[in-house]
Symmetry: C2
Subunit: 240 residues, 2 copies
DNA sequence: CGACACTTTGACTGTAGTCAATGTAAGTGG
DNA sequence: CCACTTACATTGACTACAGTCAAAGTGTCG
């Protein structure tokens, strides 16, 4: 695992893209310098499992998208979480991760070894509080997704997912703000992954995307690159 | 709301059924005495909404079952969490609850007013840590349920739910331990509620229950009272 | 060019949803 | 005590949405 992950360099917090957004934001410059001693940057290629048996258990996501998946014995798979920069990843206070973490795209992490991180948690209580707030938000998102998986139609699910990604993925070309009713973004997932996140098959996802395209709700630059000319129209379809 | 909820008495922790299992377990006798000043017992009849606009935002569940639900504009509903004693309920650090809490059965709570509780959180850091651990477990459960909602068949869903309730509901008549491959319990939910938890209709739940009965996997004493003669067989069907 | 990974599209199927009728049990009031 | 109501559950007939299986299309890379 570790051998497949490329170079490892110490973190430089002063130029870090997520310095003021990740969990680090609760630390002062001096505290951050201490914290920084245990941090290591890692690059992970798309498709690679971010193994739970190595020391890369905890990390800030600097770039790319990480998917968290659960799988049944016969191979049926469900994505139970998607993480974007500046999210923190890793199940703290547990011996084993209850799910697999996998790089959906090429990913850059600012990783912390398990032991060292737990020392820092005790040293800086603000860090634990921040992680608690993160976890509460993740729980809210998970429950939002339960509503989608349990009660929404295929069309509503695909619309909801596109909306969520439009909000969370870094927008390319032009900035997206709530006032601008327009969005362009790159899907970080294949059709199969989209299906695994939505509790659908890849064929159903593909058909719904085609429907949305025909209805003029979205435009496909290519398979991954999407333009939503009218976010409000997409929101309508999402029924959320 | 508050008027529909019956008598309100101060808590007596020394005889409390959840003293050593609820979040209170992290407090010493002396700390508990302080904490106790803000606690009030409340009884809530089945079906009653545990409103977010009263001061009963935070509580230990002493008895009964609470369901957390989310609803779409057109009325489609999904149960996103079930809470049993000695669970703690309430979304801390948020202005509004992202879901409705409703008494699935008659419920007894040990409730704390929002402001007072937040003072206690700051005074006793162990309390916050304990709530964090609770939240992490709830997140794991929510993700487990996402797998069920996204990928399991109706049969597997019903089997999974029965298994979950067999494990969490207080068992009646004879004690259930992991060694004893037998369980008897009372369903805290109607067929409609079971459907809302499983992302199914009540008719489908009913049909699957009938199938399980015909297959000899479960026995129905009455609509609510269930005997599982062979838990391993039920586990098999749950595919979890 | 061919190989490969991913996506789209089509034809058909099956699982769970919908709509409707019937069954059951507990509670109410004449 | 017995009709009647009410709430909940079961069962049946039919439907529809998404799944399955299969073939063809697209784009990238060596």
């Amino acid at each position: 695992m570790a051998s497949d992950m490329s170079f490892e360099v110490p973190a430089k917090c002063d130029v870090c893209v997520v310095r003021h957004k990740a969990i680090c934001s609760v630390l002062s410059e001096a505290e951050l310098k201490d914290f920084n001693h245990i941090a290591r940057h890692r690059s992970i290629p798309a498709g690679q499992v971010i193994a739970a048996d190595t020391d890369i258990v905890f990390a800030n996501i600097l770039n790319g998208v990480v998917k968290l998946t659960k799988t049944l014995a016969d191979g049926r798979q469900q994505i139970v979480g998607l993480q974007f920069p500046p999210d923190f990843m890793g199940r703290i206070y547990a011996k084993e991760s209850p799910y697999f973490a996998e790089a959906a795209t090429d990913v850059e992490l600012c990783a912390f070894p398990k032991d060292g991180f737990e020392v820092m948690l005790r040293r800086y209580p603000g860090l634990e509080h921040r992680l608690f707030e993160n976890t509460l938000d993740e729980l809210d998102s998970a429950r939002e997704w339960m509503l989608l998986l349990g009660r929404k139609t295929a069309k509503e699910r695909v619309a909801s997912l596109l909306l969520m990604i439009a909000q969370r993925a870094p927008n390319i070309g032009c900035a997206h703000t709530p006032e601008i009713n327009f969005s362009r973004f790159s899907l970080p997932l294949t059709r199969a992954d989209l299906g695994d996140y939505l509790g659908l098959t890849l064929e159903t996802v593909s058909r719904q995307m085609t429907n949305l395209k025909k209805a003029g709700i979205i435009e496909l630059v290519d398979n991954r690159e999407i333009i939503v000319p009218d976010l409000a129209a997409l929101e309508q379809l999402a029924s959320s």
